[in-house]
Symmetry: C3
Protein backbone atom coordinates (compact mmCIF):
# COMPACT_ATOMS: atom_id res chain seq x y z
CA UNK A 1 0.00 0.00 0.00
CA UNK A 2 -0.90 2.46 -1.11
CA UNK A 3 -2.51 0.87 -4.13
CA UNK A 4 -4.21 3.05 -6.71
CA UNK A 5 -6.29 1.73 -9.60
CA UNK A 6 -7.26 3.83 -12.61
CA UNK A 7 -10.06 1.85 -14.25
CA UNK A 8 -11.20 2.92 -17.72
CA UNK A 9 -12.82 1.56 -20.84
CA UNK A 10 -10.29 -0.32 -22.99
CA UNK A 11 -8.48 2.07 -25.30
CA UNK A 12 -9.25 5.23 -23.35
CA UNK A 13 -5.68 6.01 -22.31
CA UNK A 14 -2.48 6.10 -24.32
CA UNK A 15 0.71 4.69 -22.80
CA UNK A 16 2.01 8.26 -22.46
CA UNK A 17 -1.10 9.23 -20.49
CA UNK A 18 -0.76 6.17 -18.26
CA UNK A 19 2.83 7.04 -17.50
CA UNK A 20 1.95 10.66 -16.79
CA UNK A 21 -0.93 9.66 -14.51
CA UNK A 22 1.14 7.06 -12.66
CA UNK A 23 3.98 9.52 -12.09
CA UNK A 24 1.58 12.21 -10.91
CA UNK A 25 -0.38 9.96 -8.52
CA UNK A 26 2.92 8.75 -7.10
CA UNK A 27 4.11 12.33 -6.59
CA UNK A 28 0.77 13.44 -5.10
CA UNK A 29 0.63 10.57 -2.63
CA UNK A 30 4.29 11.00 -1.64
CA UNK A 31 3.88 14.74 -1.10
CA UNK A 32 0.64 14.50 0.85
CA UNK A 33 1.72 11.66 3.13
CA UNK A 34 5.50 12.09 3.18
CA UNK A 35 5.84 8.47 2.00
CA UNK A 36 8.68 6.94 -0.03
CA UNK A 37 7.71 6.30 -3.66
CA UNK A 38 8.91 2.68 -3.60
CA UNK A 39 5.68 1.44 -2.02
CA UNK A 40 3.27 3.43 -4.19
CA UNK A 41 1.57 1.27 -6.81
CA UNK A 42 -0.70 2.39 -9.65
CA UNK A 43 -2.54 -0.17 -11.78
CA UNK A 44 -4.56 0.49 -14.96
CA UNK A 45 -7.20 -2.22 -15.38
CA UNK A 46 -9.54 -1.90 -18.36
CA UNK A 47 -13.08 -2.99 -19.19
CA UNK A 48 -14.15 -3.51 -22.83
CA UNK A 49 -16.62 -1.11 -24.46
CA UNK A 50 -20.25 -1.85 -23.66
CA UNK A 51 -19.51 -3.25 -20.19
CA UNK A 52 -19.86 -0.10 -18.08
CA UNK A 53 -23.21 1.53 -17.34
CA UNK A 54 -24.25 4.75 -15.61
CA UNK A 55 -27.92 5.37 -14.84
CA UNK A 56 -28.67 2.08 -16.60
CA UNK A 57 -27.18 3.19 -19.92
CA UNK A 58 -23.83 2.36 -21.56
CA UNK A 59 -21.20 4.84 -20.41
CA UNK A 60 -17.44 5.14 -20.03
CA UNK A 61 -16.64 6.83 -16.72
CA UNK A 62 -13.14 6.70 -15.26
CA UNK A 63 -12.78 5.25 -11.76
CA UNK A 64 -9.77 6.36 -9.73
CA UNK A 65 -9.78 4.12 -6.68
CA UNK A 66 -7.14 3.85 -4.00
CA UNK A 67 -6.51 2.10 -0.72
CA UNK A 68 -4.32 3.89 1.81
CA UNK A 69 -3.39 3.15 5.39
CA UNK A 70 -5.86 4.49 7.97
CA UNK A 71 -4.72 6.95 10.61
CA UNK A 72 -3.97 10.15 8.72
CA UNK A 73 -5.93 13.42 9.00
CA UNK A 74 -9.08 13.62 6.88
CA UNK A 75 -7.65 16.65 5.07
CA UNK A 76 -4.81 14.49 3.69
CA UNK A 77 -7.29 12.06 2.16
CA UNK A 78 -9.40 14.91 0.81
CA UNK A 79 -6.40 16.69 -0.68
CA UNK A 80 -5.26 13.49 -2.43
CA UNK A 81 -8.75 13.03 -3.85
CA UNK A 82 -8.99 16.58 -5.17
CA UNK A 83 -5.55 16.49 -6.73
CA UNK A 84 -6.15 13.12 -8.40
CA UNK A 85 -9.47 14.32 -9.77
CA UNK A 86 -7.87 17.47 -11.20
CA UNK A 87 -4.87 15.55 -12.53
CA UNK A 88 -7.03 13.11 -14.47
CA UNK A 89 -9.08 15.96 -15.84
CA UNK A 90 -5.95 17.85 -16.92
CA UNK A 91 -4.27 14.85 -18.59
CA UNK A 92 -7.31 13.52 -20.41
CA UNK A 93 -9.73 16.42 -20.79
CA UNK A 94 -12.50 14.33 -19.24
CA UNK A 95 -15.47 16.13 -17.72
CA UNK A 96 -15.44 15.88 -13.89
CA UNK A 97 -18.97 14.44 -14.14
CA UNK A 98 -17.39 11.31 -15.65
CA UNK A 99 -14.63 10.97 -13.07
CA UNK A 100 -15.26 8.88 -9.95
CA UNK A 101 -12.71 9.08 -7.16
CA UNK A 102 -12.78 6.75 -4.16
CA UNK A 103 -10.10 6.58 -1.49
CA UNK A 104 -10.55 3.80 1.04
CA UNK A 105 -8.69 3.63 4.34
CA UNK A 106 -7.58 0.25 5.67
CA UNK A 107 -5.73 -0.56 8.90
CA UNK A 108 -1.99 -0.85 8.29
CA UNK A 109 -1.96 -4.38 9.71
CA UNK A 110 -4.20 -5.54 6.86
CA UNK A 111 -1.30 -5.06 4.45
CA UNK A 112 2.08 -6.74 3.89
CA UNK A 113 5.00 -5.89 1.60
CA UNK A 114 8.45 -7.40 1.48
CA UNK A 115 7.12 -10.12 3.79
CA UNK A 116 6.45 -7.67 6.64
CA UNK A 117 3.11 -6.46 8.03
CA UNK A 118 2.88 -2.73 7.26
CA UNK A 119 3.66 -0.16 9.98
CA UNK A 120 1.23 2.46 11.25
CA UNK A 121 1.62 5.74 9.32
CA UNK A 122 3.96 7.49 11.75
CA UNK A 123 7.70 8.10 11.63
CA UNK A 124 8.74 5.85 14.52
CA UNK A 125 6.91 2.75 13.29
CA UNK A 126 7.94 3.34 9.70
CA UNK A 127 11.63 3.71 10.64
CA UNK A 128 11.52 0.41 12.52
CA UNK A 129 9.72 -1.23 9.60
CA UNK A 130 12.30 -0.15 7.02
CA UNK A 131 15.08 -1.36 9.31
CA UNK A 132 13.38 -4.77 9.53
CA UNK A 133 13.03 -4.86 5.76
CA UNK A 134 16.72 -4.04 5.24
CA UNK A 135 17.73 -6.72 7.74
CA UNK A 136 15.56 -9.26 5.92
CA UNK A 137 17.02 -8.26 2.55
CA UNK A 138 20.52 -8.89 3.94
CA UNK A 139 19.61 -12.44 5.01
CA UNK A 140 20.42 -15.40 2.77
CA UNK A 141 17.53 -16.50 0.53
CA UNK A 142 14.94 -18.92 1.89
CA UNK A 143 15.84 -22.48 0.87
CA UNK B 1 -20.95 5.82 -5.68
CA UNK B 2 -22.75 3.59 -5.59
CA UNK B 3 -20.55 1.38 -7.71
CA UNK B 4 -21.66 -2.15 -8.55
CA UNK B 5 -19.48 -4.75 -10.27
CA UNK B 6 -20.87 -7.91 -11.82
CA UNK B 7 -17.80 -10.13 -12.28
CA UNK B 8 -18.18 -13.26 -14.39
CA UNK B 9 -16.16 -15.64 -16.52
CA UNK B 10 -15.60 -14.19 -20.00
CA UNK B 11 -18.50 -15.04 -22.29
CA UNK B 12 -21.00 -15.78 -19.54
CA UNK B 13 -23.33 -12.86 -20.26
CA UNK B 14 -24.81 -11.59 -23.50
CA UNK B 15 -25.03 -7.84 -24.11
CA UNK B 16 -28.80 -8.09 -23.65
CA UNK B 17 -28.31 -9.70 -20.24
CA UNK B 18 -25.77 -7.04 -19.23
CA UNK B 19 -28.19 -4.28 -20.16
CA UNK B 20 -31.03 -6.00 -18.31
CA UNK B 21 -28.89 -6.50 -15.21
CA UNK B 22 -27.54 -2.94 -15.26
CA UNK B 23 -31.02 -1.46 -15.61
CA UNK B 24 -32.37 -3.67 -12.83
CA UNK B 25 -29.52 -2.96 -10.38
CA UNK B 26 -29.95 0.76 -11.08
CA UNK B 27 -33.69 0.51 -10.41
CA UNK B 28 -33.21 -1.60 -7.26
CA UNK B 29 -30.64 0.76 -5.77
CA UNK B 30 -32.69 3.85 -6.64
CA UNK B 31 -35.85 2.38 -5.13
CA UNK B 32 -34.24 1.11 -1.95
CA UNK B 33 -32.23 4.26 -1.22
CA UNK B 34 -34.33 6.94 -2.92
CA UNK B 35 -31.23 7.96 -4.92
CA UNK B 36 -31.08 9.57 -8.38
CA UNK B 37 -30.00 7.12 -11.09
CA UNK B 38 -27.31 9.45 -12.47
CA UNK B 39 -24.78 8.38 -9.84
CA UNK B 40 -25.43 4.64 -10.01
CA UNK B 41 -22.68 2.80 -11.89
CA UNK B 42 -22.61 -0.86 -12.90
CA UNK B 43 -19.45 -2.40 -14.36
CA UNK B 44 -19.06 -5.88 -15.90
CA UNK B 45 -15.43 -7.02 -15.58
CA UNK B 46 -14.61 -10.50 -16.85
CA UNK B 47 -12.03 -13.15 -16.05
CA UNK B 48 -11.00 -15.73 -18.72
CA UNK B 49 -11.99 -19.38 -18.31
CA UNK B 50 -9.73 -21.37 -16.02
CA UNK B 51 -8.88 -18.40 -13.80
CA UNK B 52 -11.57 -18.75 -11.12
CA UNK B 53 -11.54 -21.47 -8.47
CA UNK B 54 -13.97 -22.55 -5.77
CA UNK B 55 -12.88 -25.10 -3.18
CA UNK B 56 -9.56 -25.34 -5.05
CA UNK B 57 -11.16 -26.48 -8.31
CA UNK B 58 -11.89 -24.53 -11.52
CA UNK B 59 -15.31 -22.92 -11.29
CA UNK B 60 -17.30 -20.03 -12.74
CA UNK B 61 -19.23 -18.30 -9.99
CA UNK B 62 -20.72 -14.85 -10.49
CA UNK B 63 -19.65 -12.13 -8.07
CA UNK B 64 -22.03 -9.21 -7.59
CA UNK B 65 -20.09 -6.69 -5.54
CA UNK B 66 -21.11 -3.17 -4.63
CA UNK B 67 -19.88 -0.24 -2.60
CA UNK B 68 -22.53 2.06 -1.15
CA UNK B 69 -22.36 4.99 1.24
CA UNK B 70 -22.50 4.04 4.91
CA UNK B 71 -25.26 5.35 7.14
CA UNK B 72 -28.40 3.64 5.93
CA UNK B 73 -30.45 1.07 7.88
CA UNK B 74 -29.17 -2.51 7.68
CA UNK B 75 -32.48 -3.60 6.15
CA UNK B 76 -31.82 -1.40 3.10
CA UNK B 77 -28.49 -3.14 2.48
CA UNK B 78 -30.06 -6.55 3.03
CA UNK B 79 -32.97 -5.82 0.71
CA UNK B 80 -30.60 -4.66 -2.06
CA UNK B 81 -28.57 -7.86 -1.63
CA UNK B 82 -31.61 -10.14 -1.80
CA UNK B 83 -33.06 -8.39 -4.83
CA UNK B 84 -29.73 -8.42 -6.70
CA UNK B 85 -29.29 -12.11 -5.96
CA UNK B 86 -32.79 -12.92 -7.21
CA UNK B 87 -32.39 -10.66 -10.25
CA UNK B 88 -29.20 -12.37 -11.38
CA UNK B 89 -30.79 -15.75 -10.86
CA UNK B 90 -33.86 -14.74 -12.88
CA UNK B 91 -31.93 -13.23 -15.79
CA UNK B 92 -29.32 -15.97 -16.13
CA UNK B 93 -30.82 -19.11 -14.58
CA UNK B 94 -27.72 -19.50 -12.42
CA UNK B 95 -28.03 -21.58 -9.26
CA UNK B 96 -27.89 -19.39 -6.13
CA UNK B 97 -25.02 -21.61 -4.94
CA UNK B 98 -22.90 -20.03 -7.69
CA UNK B 99 -23.91 -16.43 -6.95
CA UNK B 100 -21.81 -14.40 -4.50
CA UNK B 101 -23.18 -11.06 -3.36
CA UNK B 102 -21.14 -8.58 -1.35
CA UNK B 103 -22.24 -5.07 -0.46
CA UNK B 104 -19.63 -2.94 1.25
CA UNK B 105 -20.37 0.28 3.07
CA UNK B 106 -17.88 3.15 2.87
CA UNK B 107 -18.06 6.60 4.48
CA UNK B 108 -19.48 9.17 2.07
CA UNK B 109 -16.38 11.34 2.43
CA UNK B 110 -14.26 8.57 0.87
CA UNK B 111 -15.94 9.22 -2.48
CA UNK B 112 -15.97 12.10 -4.97
CA UNK B 113 -18.00 12.70 -8.13
CA UNK B 114 -18.21 15.80 -10.28
CA UNK B 115 -15.23 17.10 -8.32
CA UNK B 116 -17.17 17.20 -5.04
CA UNK B 117 -16.78 14.99 -1.95
CA UNK B 118 -19.98 12.95 -1.62
CA UNK B 119 -22.67 14.01 0.87
CA UNK B 120 -23.95 11.87 3.73
CA UNK B 121 -27.00 9.84 2.67
CA UNK B 122 -29.67 12.22 3.97
CA UNK B 123 -31.91 14.70 2.18
CA UNK B 124 -30.43 17.92 3.56
CA UNK B 125 -26.81 17.10 2.72
CA UNK B 126 -27.74 15.69 -0.66
CA UNK B 127 -29.74 18.79 -1.59
CA UNK B 128 -26.77 21.02 -0.72
CA UNK B 129 -24.45 18.74 -2.66
CA UNK B 130 -26.53 18.83 -5.84
CA UNK B 131 -26.75 22.62 -5.57
CA UNK B 132 -22.93 22.80 -5.34
CA UNK B 133 -22.63 20.53 -8.36
CA UNK B 134 -25.01 22.66 -10.41
CA UNK B 135 -23.13 25.82 -9.44
CA UNK B 136 -19.86 24.19 -10.48
CA UNK B 137 -21.35 23.06 -13.81
CA UNK B 138 -22.38 26.66 -14.50
CA UNK B 139 -18.81 27.92 -13.99
CA UNK B 140 -16.49 28.45 -16.95
CA UNK B 141 -14.17 25.50 -17.66
CA UNK B 142 -10.86 25.27 -15.81
CA UNK B 143 -8.09 26.69 -18.01
CA UNK C 1 -16.61 -15.15 1.18
CA UNK C 2 -13.81 -15.55 1.62
CA UNK C 3 -12.78 -14.21 -1.75
CA UNK C 4 -9.12 -14.11 -2.71
CA UNK C 5 -7.74 -12.42 -5.81
CA UNK C 6 -4.26 -13.06 -7.17
CA UNK C 7 -3.66 -10.17 -9.56
CA UNK C 8 -0.65 -10.37 -11.88
CA UNK C 9 0.61 -9.11 -15.20
CA UNK C 10 -0.89 -11.14 -18.07
CA UNK C 11 1.22 -14.21 -18.76
CA UNK C 12 2.97 -14.30 -15.39
CA UNK C 13 1.42 -17.55 -14.16
CA UNK C 14 1.02 -20.91 -15.87
CA UNK C 15 -2.21 -22.85 -15.42
CA UNK C 16 -0.30 -25.31 -13.23
CA UNK C 17 0.85 -22.46 -10.99
CA UNK C 18 -2.68 -21.07 -10.78
CA UNK C 19 -4.03 -24.44 -9.73
CA UNK C 20 -1.26 -24.90 -7.17
CA UNK C 21 -1.83 -21.40 -5.73
CA UNK C 22 -5.62 -21.81 -5.62
CA UNK C 23 -5.36 -25.17 -3.86
CA UNK C 24 -2.84 -23.81 -1.36
CA UNK C 25 -4.81 -20.63 -0.55
CA UNK C 26 -7.92 -22.77 -0.07
CA UNK C 27 -6.02 -25.09 2.27
CA UNK C 28 -4.42 -22.22 4.19
CA UNK C 29 -7.72 -20.41 4.73
CA UNK C 30 -9.54 -23.62 5.72
CA UNK C 31 -6.83 -24.58 8.19
CA UNK C 32 -6.49 -21.16 9.78
CA UNK C 33 -10.22 -20.50 10.14
CA UNK C 34 -11.63 -24.02 10.34
CA UNK C 35 -13.90 -23.20 7.38
CA UNK C 36 -15.33 -25.60 4.78
CA UNK C 37 -13.58 -25.31 1.40
CA UNK C 38 -16.85 -24.97 -0.55
CA UNK C 39 -17.09 -21.24 0.16
CA UNK C 40 -13.45 -20.36 -0.52
CA UNK C 41 -13.01 -18.61 -3.86
CA UNK C 42 -9.74 -17.68 -5.60
CA UNK C 43 -9.77 -15.52 -8.74
CA UNK C 44 -6.81 -14.71 -11.00
CA UNK C 45 -7.43 -11.39 -12.78
CA UNK C 46 -4.68 -10.12 -15.05
CA UNK C 47 -3.47 -6.74 -16.27
CA UNK C 48 -1.60 -6.42 -19.61
CA UNK C 49 2.10 -5.51 -19.62
CA UNK C 50 2.80 -1.80 -19.25
CA UNK C 51 -0.27 -1.13 -17.14
CA UNK C 52 1.18 -1.55 -13.64
CA UNK C 53 3.54 0.98 -12.06
CA UNK C 54 5.56 1.05 -8.85
CA UNK C 55 7.30 4.27 -7.80
CA UNK C 56 6.05 5.81 -11.05
CA UNK C 57 7.85 3.29 -13.27
CA UNK C 58 6.51 0.26 -15.15
CA UNK C 59 6.61 -2.80 -12.91
CA UNK C 60 4.97 -6.18 -12.49
CA UNK C 61 4.23 -6.80 -8.82
CA UNK C 62 1.84 -9.53 -7.71
CA UNK C 63 -1.12 -8.48 -5.57
CA UNK C 64 -2.66 -11.14 -3.33
CA UNK C 65 -5.82 -9.54 -1.98
CA UNK C 66 -8.51 -11.19 0.08
CA UNK C 67 -11.74 -10.31 1.87
CA UNK C 68 -12.63 -12.38 4.91
CA UNK C 69 -15.37 -12.11 7.50
CA UNK C 70 -14.53 -9.83 10.43
CA UNK C 71 -14.52 -11.19 13.97
CA UNK C 72 -11.55 -13.53 14.10
CA UNK C 73 -8.37 -12.99 16.16
CA UNK C 74 -5.74 -10.75 14.54
CA UNK C 75 -3.25 -13.61 14.63
CA UNK C 76 -5.44 -15.64 12.26
CA UNK C 77 -5.38 -12.83 9.70
CA UNK C 78 -1.63 -12.38 10.14
CA UNK C 79 -0.94 -16.08 9.79
CA UNK C 80 -2.97 -16.27 6.57
CA UNK C 81 -1.05 -13.28 5.19
CA UNK C 82 2.36 -14.75 6.03
CA UNK C 83 1.52 -18.16 4.60
CA UNK C 84 0.08 -16.68 1.38
CA UNK C 85 3.16 -14.51 0.93
CA UNK C 86 5.48 -17.49 1.42
CA UNK C 87 3.35 -19.72 -0.80
CA UNK C 88 3.45 -17.29 -3.72
CA UNK C 89 7.18 -16.88 -3.27
CA UNK C 90 7.70 -20.66 -3.22
CA UNK C 91 5.55 -21.39 -6.27
CA UNK C 92 6.82 -18.57 -8.48
CA UNK C 93 10.27 -17.63 -7.16
CA UNK C 94 9.18 -13.99 -6.94
CA UNK C 95 11.12 -11.70 -4.62
CA UNK C 96 9.02 -10.74 -1.56
CA UNK C 97 9.69 -7.09 -2.47
CA UNK C 98 7.40 -7.64 -5.46
CA UNK C 99 4.62 -9.36 -3.54
CA UNK C 100 1.81 -7.27 -2.03
CA UNK C 101 -0.57 -8.97 0.35
CA UNK C 102 -3.74 -7.32 1.61
CA UNK C 103 -6.39 -9.03 3.71
CA UNK C 104 -9.52 -6.97 4.34
CA UNK C 105 -12.09 -7.79 6.98
CA UNK C 106 -15.77 -7.17 6.26
CA UNK C 107 -18.80 -7.76 8.47
CA UNK C 108 -20.42 -11.14 7.74
CA UNK C 109 -23.75 -9.46 7.02
CA UNK C 110 -22.21 -7.66 4.03
CA UNK C 111 -21.95 -11.00 2.21
CA UNK C 112 -24.46 -13.50 0.78
CA UNK C 113 -24.02 -16.94 -0.75
CA UNK C 114 -26.63 -19.46 -1.74
CA UNK C 115 -29.19 -16.70 -1.27
CA UNK C 116 -28.47 -16.41 2.48
CA UNK C 117 -26.74 -13.57 4.36
CA UNK C 118 -23.48 -14.98 5.75
CA UNK C 119 -23.28 -16.05 9.41
CA UNK C 120 -20.86 -14.61 11.94
CA UNK C 121 -17.65 -16.67 12.10
CA UNK C 122 -18.59 -18.89 15.04
CA UNK C 123 -19.75 -22.50 15.19
CA UNK C 124 -23.33 -21.89 16.39
CA UNK C 125 -24.20 -19.35 13.70
CA UNK C 126 -22.46 -21.32 11.00
CA UNK C 127 -24.29 -24.53 11.90
CA UNK C 128 -27.64 -22.73 11.69
CA UNK C 129 -26.61 -21.14 8.38
CA UNK C 130 -25.70 -24.46 6.76
CA UNK C 131 -28.97 -25.96 7.96
CA UNK C 132 -30.87 -23.06 6.34
CA UNK C 133 -28.92 -23.57 3.12
CA UNK C 134 -29.69 -27.30 3.06
CA UNK C 135 -33.39 -26.60 3.67
CA UNK C 136 -33.42 -24.09 0.82
CA UNK C 137 -31.64 -26.55 -1.49
CA UNK C 138 -34.38 -29.12 -0.76
CA UNK C 139 -37.12 -26.67 -1.79
CA UNK C 140 -38.57 -26.76 -5.32
CA UNK C 141 -36.95 -24.26 -7.72
CA UNK C 142 -38.27 -20.69 -7.86
CA UNK C 143 -40.76 -20.35 -10.71
Amino acid sequence: MPLYECLTQTGTLTQEQRTEIAEAITRIHAEETNSPADFIHVFFPEIPAGQMFTAGREAAPALLRGVIRAGRPAQVRESIMRRINDLYQDVTGTSPMKILVALFEAPAQWGMEGGEILPEPNQAEEDAWFAALRARAAEPERA
